[in-house]
C-alpha cells in the first residue's frame, strides 16, 4: 500500500484481478457447493414451468416421480456403495436378472414364494460382489464391470434368451408393486419414498452409516480406528443388491413381462443421478436426500423435454451438460477458481 508505483511493474492486471474475483467466485462457489444442486433444480423447474404450465401440475409431478421410482430405488443402494469409496456398475444387469427371475418363478412357484426367492438370489449376487470387493479387496470398477457381463450372461442362460411373461396377467396380485395404489399414492412412489426414508436414516443417523462415511473418506484411518472395513463394504453391496431386487420387483410388477435387457445401461443413469446429487466418486461424501434430488432432476429433465416437444434422447445431451456443470462447479467452489490449475 505504501509503495504502489514501485510495485506496479510486477502486479500484472491478471494477477491483481486474481484477488477480488477469486473471492467472489469462492463465495458464489461456496453457496453453489452447498445448495448448488437445489438451486439448479429450482431454476430448471421454473424454466420448464414457464415453457409449459402443465409441467408443475400435480398429475405430472406424480407421473415423474412414479416413472423415476425404479431408477431412484437403485440409486439409493448405489449411494451407499459410492460413499464407501467404491463403484457398482452391475446394478443394471442385476436388475434385469431380478426381473426375469421373479417373472419366471411367479408362474412356477407362485408370487408369494417367487418374491423371497428372487430377493435371496439377488442378495447372493450382491454378497459375491461384496466379498470380492470388501474381503478380497479387488478393484470395484473391474469387479462390477465383470459382474455386469457375467450377470447378463447368467440372465440370458437362465431365460434361454427368451422374453419372460406371466401367463395370467389379469389374475395376479403381483401387479400391486408396480401398478397398485395405497394411501392414495401409487405403490412405486411409496416404495421409493419408504426405502429412501429408511436408508436415509440408516446412513445419516446410525453407527453403520458413520462407518460407511469413514471407510469411504479414508479406509486406512477407519481400519486404524477399529472399524471392520471389509464388513462395511460388504454390507453396502448387500444394501445395493436389496435395492436392485426391489427395483426388479417393481419393474416386473409394472410390466408383468420383460426382455432380458430391461436394465441395460441403467447403471450409468443411476451413477449419473448419484453424482448429480453431489456424491464424490472418491468416496466419503453424498447423502440419500441429495441422491433423491439427483434422481428427480433426471426425471424432470426427461419429462420437461418431452413436454416442450423434444425427443427423449435430447435428455442425454442435457444430462451430459448438467452432470459436468454440477461436478465442475462443486470442484470450482472447493478450489476457489473456475478453471483447473493444471498447466
Amino acid at each position: 500500500m505504501t509503495d504502489l508505483t514501485g510495485r506496479k511493474a510486477t502486479a500484472e492486471p491478471g494477477q491483481r484481478g486474481d484477488g477480488p474475483s477469486a473471492m467472489t467466485v469462492q463465495r458464489i462457489g461456496a453457496l453453489l457447493a452447498k445448495q448448488g444442486i437445489l438451486i439448479a433444480f429450482a431454476i430448471f423447474m421454473i424454466g420448464f414451468t414457464l415453457a409449459n404450465e402443465r409441467f408443475i401440475s400435480p398429475d405430472n409431478v406424480m407421473g415423474v416421480i412414479r416413472s423415476s421410482a425404479i431408477l431412484g430405488v437403485m440409486a439409493l443402494g448405489v449411494t451407499f456403495v459410492v460413499i464407501s469409496g467404491n463403484l457398482d456398475l452391475s446394478v443394471g444387469s442385476m436388475m434385469s436378472f431380478s426381473t426375469i427371475v421373479v417373472l419366471d418363478l411367479h408362474d412356477k412357484i407362485g408370487p408369494a414364494l417367487a418374491i423371497p426367492a428372487m430377493f435371496a438370489l439377488t442378495l447372493a449376487l450382491g454378497a459375491l460382489i461384496g466379498f470380492l470387493v470388501g474381503y478380497l479387496r479387488l478393484n470395484s470398477l473391474i469387479v462390477t464391470l465383470g459382474m455386469l457381463s457375467a450377470i447378463h450372461g447368467l440372465t440370458l442362460t437362465y431365460s434361454g434368451g427368451q422374453n419372460m411373461d406371466i401367463a395370467d396377467k389379469d389374475g395376479t396380485w403381483f401387479s400391486v408393486f408396480g401398478q397398485g395404489t395405497a394411501l392414495g399414492l401409487p405403490v412405486p412412489i411409496l416404495l421409493f419414498a419408504g426405502l429412501a426414508a429408511l436408508l436415509g436414516i440408516l446412513l445419516a443417523k446410525t453407527p453403520f452409516g458413520r462407518k460407511v462415511y469413514a471407510v469411504g473418506g479414508n479406509g486406512t484411518a477407519a481400519t486404524f480406528s477399529g472399524i471392520r472395513r471389509a464388513r462395511t463394504v460388504f454390507t453396502c453391496y448387500l444394501i445395493s443388491a436389496l435395492c436392485v431386487a426391489t427395483a426388479g420387483l417393481m419393474q416386473a410388477s409394472r410390466s408383468l413381462g420383460s426382455q432380458n435387457t430391461v436394465g441395460q445401461g441403467l447403471e450409468l443413469e443411476v451413477l449419473a443421478a448419484v453424482i448429480l446429487g453431489g456424491a464424490s466418486l472418491l468416496g466419503g461424501s453424498g447423502t440419500i436426500f441429495k441422491t433423491v434430488i439427483g434422481v428427480l432432476i433426471l426425471g424432470f429433465i426427461q419429462n420437461g423435454l418431452l413436454l416442450v416437444g423434444l425427443q427423449f434422447y435430447v435428455q442425454y445431451v442435457v444430462t451430459w451438460v448438467i452432470i459436468i456443470l454440477a461436478v465442475w462447479l462443486d470442484i470450482a467452489a472447493k478450489r476457489g477458481r473456475l478453471l483447473s490449475p493444471i498447466a
Binding site: 511493474a9 443417523k205 469413514a214 480406528s225
Partner: protein, 509 residues
C-alpha cells in the same frame, strides 16, 4: 565472510506478498541466497515456508513483490519456467515415477529428442550416467526407480537437480527418511553443489543439520520475515525464539515415583524379517521410548500389537494374560490404542468433522436406541477439547482444516476417550510446529502420571530423552539395549541404534 556479501545474490526475493481470501500467507518477505551459500529457511508449520516455495516454483503468483535471479527480475508463472530459470526443487515427498528408468526420471520433462518426437536413448543414458558417477551411487541410468531404496530415490531427485545449470537448488526436508550414512552422502553432495557456486535453500526442522551445514538462517513467522541470522554467530535457542517467540523446554525427564504393575508384555515376539525375539514390559504409569533408525522395526512392533500384522511367533500379554490380536478392533477391545505415525493417512478422516473423527472407534457404543446419540458424542468432544486444549471453531469444523498440532490432539483425544490400558504413540510430533510439540510432550508425561502405560516411538532423540522413563534401542529388528532415564546418554544411545553392542561400562561412557 566479506567476499560473498559483495557478490550478486544467486536468487533474491523482494517484499513478496501472497494473499488468499481472508489470510495474508506471505506478508512482505524478503531474502536472498548468494552463490555458494547454504541458506536455511525456518519457521513453524504455517509460517509461510511452503507458500514461499510455491511462489518460487511458479505454482503461486505473488500479489506483490519481485524475484531476481542474479540481477535480472524474473516472473515464474509455471514450474517449467522456474526450472528454465535454473531454480530446482528437491521435494519432501518424492516426486518420481516408479515404473520408469532412472534416466527417464532424471530428465523428466526434458527428455533428449530425436526426429519424429523420439527419445534419444543413447544421449539420455550417457548424460545420466555421467551425473550418477558424480554422485557416486550404486545404480545406473537404466535401473527402474521402483526397485531403489528411498535414499537412492532421493539421489535420483538430486541427480535431476544437476541436469542443467542450476542457479539455486531448494531442499525441502530432504533428510526426513534418510539414515545417518545416507545423510552424510547428501551433505557431501550439497557441499559439492556449493563448491560449484550454486545457491542452496535448505528447509528443515532439524536444528542439528541446520547448524552443521548452513551458512545463514532466515526465520519466518506468521507469514512475516523475522530476520536472518549468521549460523556461526547464533545458537539453537536464538533460532527457536525467533521462530516461536519464546523458549522451548526440552530438558530431560525427571525421575518420578515407582510405576505400577505390568500392563503390556511381549515374549519373543517375531514377525517375519521385520523384527525378532522382541521381549519387553511396559508398566502402568510409565513411558517407554523406542528409539532407532528408520526401518529398525519399531513401527512394525506397534502394528503387530495393534492387530495390523500377524506375528510369526511369540506372545503378547496384557495384564499378565496372553492374548491374540487379529485386528485393530480386537486390539481396541483389549484396551490397546495406537496414535499412528502417519496422521493424515492413518489417523484421521480429513473430510469428516472433528467430533465424528474423535468418536469414530466407539460410535457403536454411543447410541440411543439404534441411532448415534448426538448428545453423547458432543459431550465426549467437549470434554477432550477442553482437556487437550484443542483449538477449533467448533465440532463441525472439518479436521482437514485444522493445524497439524490440533489434528494430532484430535487423534490423541480419540484414543484417550477410549480409556485404554496401553497407549502407543508413534512419532507423536512429526510435522508439528514447535509450540504444539511441547504441549504434546507435557501431555504424554501427564498421561503416564495418571496411570497409563505409554509406548512412545520416535526418531527424534531429544523427544525420546525428554518424555521417557526407560528407552529401548532397536537395531535391525532387534532390541539392542534398554536404558533407564538415569543412565542414558546421547552417545550410548547413538551407539546402540547403530548396532554397536554395549561394551564394558568404561567404554560406554
Amino acid at each position: 565472510m566479506t567476499a560473498p556479501d559483495q557478490a550478486v545474490p544467486a536468487l533474491r526475493l523482494e517484499s513478496i506478498v501472497k494473499a488468499f481470501p481472508g489470510v495474508r500467507a506471505l506478508d512482505g518477505v524478503s531474502f536472498d541466497v548468494r552463490p555458494g551459500e547454504v541458506h536455511a529457511l525456518m519457521g513453524e508449520n504455517g509460517a509461510g515456508k511452503s507458500t514461499l516455495m510455491k511462489v518460487l516454483g511458479g505454482i503461486y503468483q505473488p500479489n506483490e513483490g519481485r524475484i531476481f535471479l542474479g540481477e535480472q527480475p524474473v516472473r515464474m508463472t509455471s514450474p517449467l519456467e522456474a526450472k528454465q530459470n535454473g531454480v530446482v526443487f528437491i521435494h519432501q515427498e518424492l516426486s518420481l515415477a516408479a515404473e520408469l528408468s532412472v534416466a527417464e526420471n532424471v530428465y523428466l520433462g526434458a527428455l533428449p529428442r530425436k526426429s519424429f518426437g523420439r527419445v534419444d536413448w543413447t544421449t539420455l543414458y550417457n548424460r545420466t550416467d555421467t551425473i550418477l558417477t558424480r554422485l557416486k551411487v550404486g545404480f545406473n541410468a537404466r535401473t527402474r526407480v521402483g526397485t531403489l531404496s528411498i535414499a537412492n530415490q532421493q539421489m535420483v531427485e538430486i541427480a535431476r537437480a544437476l541436469t542443467h545449470e542450476a542457479k539455486a537448488v531448494i531442499f525441502d526436508e530432504p533428510t526426513a527418511s534418510l539414515t545417518d550414512a545416507e545423510k552424510t552422502v547428501l551433505f557431501e553432495v550439497i557441499a559439492d553443489l556449493k563448491a560449484h557456486g550454486v545457491g542452496i535453500i535448505y528447509i528443515s526442522h532439524r536444528m542439528e543439520e541446520i547448524f552443521r551445514i548452513t551458512d545463514r538462517i532466515t526465520v519466518l513467522r506468521d507469514g512475516q520475515y523475522r530476520g536472518t541470522l549468521v549460523t556461526a554467530e547464533t545458537d539453537e535457542d536464538a533460532v527457536t525464539q525467533a521462530m516461536i517467540g519464546r523458549k522451548l523446554d526440552l530438558s530431560r525427564n525427571e525421575a518420578r515415583s515407582a510405576p505400577g504393575e505390568v500392563a503390556l508384555e511381549t515374549r519373543q515376539l517375531c514377525c517375519g524379517a521385520l523384527f525378532r525375539d522382541v521381549s519387553f514390559q511396559i508398566r502402568r504409569g510409565e513411558v517407554v521410548g523406542f528409539y532407532g533408525l528408520v526401518g529398525a522395526g519399531r513401527t512394525e512392533i506397534a502394528e503387530a500389537l495393534f492387530g495390523l500384522r500377524e506375528p510369526s511367533g511369540g506372545q503378547i500379554l496384557l495384564a499378565g494374560q496372553p492374548v491374540r490380536i487379529h485386528s485393530p478392533a480386537d486390539a481396541i477391545a483389549h484396551g490397546i490404542s495406537l496414535v499412528p505415525e502417519d496422521r493424515k493417512g492413518q489417523g484421521l478422516v480429513l473430510g469428516m468433522n472433528c467430533r465424528d473423527n474423535m468418536t469414530l472407534p466407539q460410535v457403536d457404543d454411543l447410541t440411543a436406541g439404534p441411532f448415534v446419540s448426538d448428545g453423547a458424542e458432543i459431550a465426549i468432544f467437549d470434554q477432550y477439547r477442553d482437556r487437550l486444549d484443542i483449538r477449533t471453531p467448533g465440532w463441525r469444523q472439518l479436521v482437514g482444516n485444522l493445524s497439524g498440532g490440533n489434528q494430532q490432539k484430535i487423534v490423541i483425544g480419540k484414543w484417550l476417550s477410549m480409556h485404554p490400558d496401553v497407549l502407543i504413540v508413534d512419532e507423536p510430533t512429526r510435522g508439528i510446529d514447535v509450540g504444539s510439540k511441547s504441549e504434546i510432550h507435557k501431555l504424554i508425561r501427564a498421561l503416564a502420571d495418571q496411570g497409563y502405560a505409554v509406548m512412545v516411538i520416535s526418531s527424534e532423540m531429544p523427544e525420546v530423552l525428554h518424555v521417557s522413563d526407560r528407552i529401548i534401542a532397536m537395531y535391525h529388528g532387534e532390541l539392542i539395549r534398554e536404558f533407564t532415564a538415569a543412565e542414558v546418554t546421547e552417545d550410548n544411545l547413538i551407539q546402540a541404534i547403530s548396532g554397536i553392542r554395549p561394551g564394558p561400562p568404561d567404554a560406554a561412557a
